[in-house]
Amino acid sequence: MTASEPQAGSATKPRPAPRRTPPERAGGGATLWAGLALIGLVVLAAVVSAFWTPFDPEGVFPDSILLSPGAEHLFGTDSFGRDVFSSILRGAQISLLVGTVAVGLAAVLGVPFGIVAGMNPGRLDQFMMRGNDISLAFPALLLAIIFGAIFGAGTVTAMVALGIGTAPAFALIARSGTMQIMSREYVQAARASGKSGLFIGMRHVLPNISGMLIVQASVSFGIAVLAEAALSYLGLGTPPPTPSWGRMLQDAQGYLFIEPLLIVWPGIAIAIAVLGFNLLGDGLRDRFDPKMQVKR
């Protein structure tokens, strides 16, 4: 799932009359804030757990195995006697780490690639886009499986695979945004002033496509959190004892009939994080010019 939500049609002619109100402007704000609130919750959990958790989420406590939720253990304990609440808090770190690195890597790889392609229409663009097609054909999960075999499974491998797997989407969006910006007259003006391609790319293109890139980043972040969970399920994610929501889900599967709540907590945590980033993406999309969205 690489694409941002596409928008049909893109009129290039500026319209003299602002006769229609922007879409969902009224609802957009609420969506945005709801997204930010949920993300805030996740970030808070990650930050707090860096300094304090009710119990050690990485230890083993044979005396408190599989306790039901109660006053002492808010969400109960798992098969190692670990406090699930503590693990959920600490697990936010891995989810945010994976999301940040994966999305960051994807942006670092994809955005300059897309901008260069978009600024050089013609053969170079064609060539680069074929290359992009090929990397699109290696989805993140496939890369994760292959990289897992080559470099060993783990958080870093998963992040890198997700990052590389997501990069083509960023490249496509950056490219189409760049092509729109390049047709703007201020770019012509900059060129007429003798500005270099690098200057135009950095000063004009990048700031003006940043809105759509942020939207894409937000959506990709949610996807990365989900993908980390899926990879953990396949045994390609974060190794224990570091708490990860995906692996907690996988571990909980075996206890579904003994302690069904074990599967609920990480499920909710993942849903909150993904929902947060998706809502943020939707809200930002409504806020930024919808016509800036990409067809692909």
Partner: protein, 503 residues
């Protein structure tokens, strides 16, 4: 108009929902394997065979499916671990223990129609030395010569007496083949067993059909499907939903309890030969000192490891000997009681502080779970274990098993009587004791009574020297439909003997 539109959209959504429910509902009550054919059996297993040729492919999965079912040898192990006749009706051993005379069953044919005779014995066993690369061709090293005395008489002469030889003949290396059935060992095995392979799909299923021309008593189950799962939950779910009838050897014991309270199912607890072993690289800087290894023995609360990682299932053994072996010594389980103070003392004595060890485990659920507890307990005596879960088998075999590039590992040794293998100095544990090796050789050649005593002695020595920390014996727990009888409880050998199962 707008209202109209919405109504029609609601209508179409409703239609979709109805179709959806209908789709789900149509299959209500028509589950697949419900008592339509009494003689068919579906078994859920975990590790899938890559192919069906155990002469050149390692791993327990192929013998589990084929040995005793499709392939047979002269002898087999019964479920209590005793050697009983199979293709051999009987045998005699010379007084010096060197000459074995086997009397073979008459009228036995392979599934391709070719006859089983003493020549088949000679052909099959002689083939092992040159053509087998897996499953222990060295087990037959004691054989000096094989002679087909008549069609039903085979004489095997050993170069020296061996107590373990006949036992090993019950395993894969003792399998009888026919020359005409070797063409496609990987996909179309030809044996004398009660079943033949009717289809095989890697990673999915192996379907066995009763061999109509079987020389012995026909098995009750005529159609047996072995279905392979990648995780234990899926396996038990399949049993609960009625897709399969039997889970042979559950690997995640937290899944067991739900069956105990369910009268539709039975839980069979038996003994296995799988020692879950915390191995320490005896030649590494960290563990070359026996005191450090002993410190690890004292530092680990094996009961706690078993409770946490195995939901309490298993047996504390303290050595590499399961109770099914005659030289089992239950007192060894208490040789190193949990005593962190003692561990700290030993470490201090050895002059070790701030020890950090590379703890490389296979990425298998039981190992990952146990390793977390071990790590936690080692930390309490000041040993830091850097846990790395290596992909199993590929990377673990490479790094730990072949290249010995590790300090500590954790894996289950499932082969029967593998303690002699473990003691070899070239083995990955790096345990190098010439006296122990000599004693093993001596025991093998000794008379049966002293054999047991000597084995007891030498395995105790290994435990005392802390060659490894044998945490516990993995239980053999099978889960089955309540109406199944004759399900093998123990796993004394690699084989899953289907011939005894009935309803």
């Amino acid at each position: 108009m707008r209202a109209h539109t919405q109504r029609s959209m609601f209508a179409s959504m409703a239609a979709v929902m109805v179709a959806f429910v209908a789709l789900v509902g149509c299959s209500d009550g028509s589950s697949t394997n419900e008592a339509d054919a009494d003689t068919s059996l579906t078994v859920g297993l975990l590790a899938t065979p890559g192919n069906l040729d155990y002469t050149t492919t390692a791993g327990a999965a192929i013998p589990q499916a084929l040995l005793y079912n499709v392939y047979e040898g002269l002898v087999k192990l019964d479920n209590d671990g005793a050697i009983i006749p199979l293709l051999a009706e009987s045998w005699t051993v010379s007084d010096d223990g060197l000459v074995y005379d086997f009397l073979l069953h008459e009228g036995v044919t392979f599934s391709d129609g070719s006859p089983f005779t003493a020549e088949s014995v000679k052909f099959s066993l002689e083939r092992v030395k040159d053509n087998w690369t897996a499953n222990g061709p060295a087990y037959l090293d004691p054989i000096a010569s094989i002679e087909a005395v008549s069609d039903t008489e085979a004489r095997i002469t050993l170069s020296k007496p061996s107590n373990s030889w006949l036992f090993n003949m019950s395993g894969p290396v003792g399998t009888m083949f026919t020359e005409s059935g070797l063409a496609d060992l990987a996909t179309a095995p030809v044996g004398t067993g009660p079943y033949t392979v009717s289809s095989f799909k890697t990673g999915d299923s192996l379907v066995l059909a009763a061999n109509a021309d079987y020389w012995g008593e026909a098995p009750y189950m005529t159609d047996v499907t072995l279905r392979y799962f990648t995780d234990a939950t899926a396996q038990t779910n399949a049993l609960l939903s009625g897709d399969i009838n039997l889970v042979a050897g559950i690997s995640q014991f937290q899944l067991v309890d739900q069956f105990k309270s369910n009268t539709d199912f039975q839980v069979l607890e038996g003994a296995s030969t799988g020692e879950v072993t915390l191995s320490m690289n005896n030649v590494s800087d960290a563990f070359s000192d026996v005191r450090v290894r002993q410190a690890v023995m004292y530092a680990i609360d094996r009961q706690a490891v078993m409770d946490t990682a195995n939901s309490g299932y298993g047996l504390l053994i303290g050595s590499m000997v399961p109770p099914t072996d005659p030289w089992y010594d239950e007192s060894l389980a208490d040789l190193y009681p949990y005593d962190p103070d003692q561990a700290t003392e030993l470490l201090a004595e050895a002059g070790v502080s701030d020890l950090t060890v590379a703890f490389k485990i296979p990425n298998l659920p039981y190992a990952v779970a146990a390793a977390q507890v071990v790590k936690d307990q080692l930390a309490k005596v000041g040993i830091t274990a850097d846990v790395t879960a290596l992909e199993f088998p590929a990377v673990w075999l490479d790094e730990v098993f072949s290249n010995h590039d590790y300090d500590m590992s954790l894996i289950m040794h499932s082969e029967p009587r593998d303690v002699t293998v473990f003691a070899a100095p070239t083995y990955y544990a790096g345990y190098d004791s010439p006296s122990v090796m000599a004693k093993f050789a001596e025991a093998d050649a000794a008379d049966p009574t002293s054999y047991i005593d000597m084995m007891k002695e030498v395995t105790t020595t290994m435990a005392e020297e802390a060659a490894a920390n044998w945490l516990y014996l993995q239980p053999a727990i099978s889960l089955a439909d309540a109406d199944l009888i004759g399900v093998p409880k123990n796993t004394p050998s690699l084989a899953l003997d289907l011939s005894t199962i009935a309803r």
